[in-house]
Symmetry: C2
Subunit: 101 residues, 2 copies
């Protein structure tokens, strides 16, 4: 099992980010082929009370890396990636990882 | 549902990191009370082929934030956190997040 992770930095306008993410971006992500699970999580705390390093993280689960990269290469995948610039005013860090590797 | 996430930077000696993580650190993490699932994933690629931003990510799932923070406050939780300095030569970023929030 693999996942694609997006770590979003703190947006300029969190309410606008939340609204756009829920109503526009998440539906685009759900159109990406080959995905098995989509998990978004709002960063809420750190163990030592230090500043939150990110605003939101999203994990997209897929069977293997070939299917994940293939999903991102489709029109739906490219549309979801291209949409990031429409709301990620705090920047984004994207990577793929292999679970249990 | 909430999770604690650890993002490990690139270690000085990846083989030593992997060996220590699998045989020493992961067993300590599994002793932390209240955890429901432990998922470790090796970062393997980025969508645009850029440098991998982290080496390994670990997610610890728990029912709610109170139980998660309570688990980290136990002797077992403190031992697992204290152990990070023994192998995380590339640094670590730790945070708690609320899934679906």
């Amino acid at each position: 099992m693999v996942k694609a992770t997006a770590l979003y930095g703190h947006p300029e306008d969190p309410d606008a980010f939340d609204e756009y993410y829920a109503n526009t971006h998440a539906p685009l992500v759900e159109e990406i082929p080959n995905l098995q699970r989509f998990e978004a999580a709002k960063i809420v705390a750190t163990p030592d009370g230090s500043e939150l390093p990110y605003y939101l993280m999203a994990d997209l689960y897929c069977e293997d890396l070939e299917q994940l990269q293939g999903g991102f290469a489709t029109d739906e995948g490219q549309a979801a990636v291209a949409d990031i610039q429409n709301f990620a005013t705090g920047g984004v860090t994207l990577f793929f990882s292999e679970i249990g590797a």
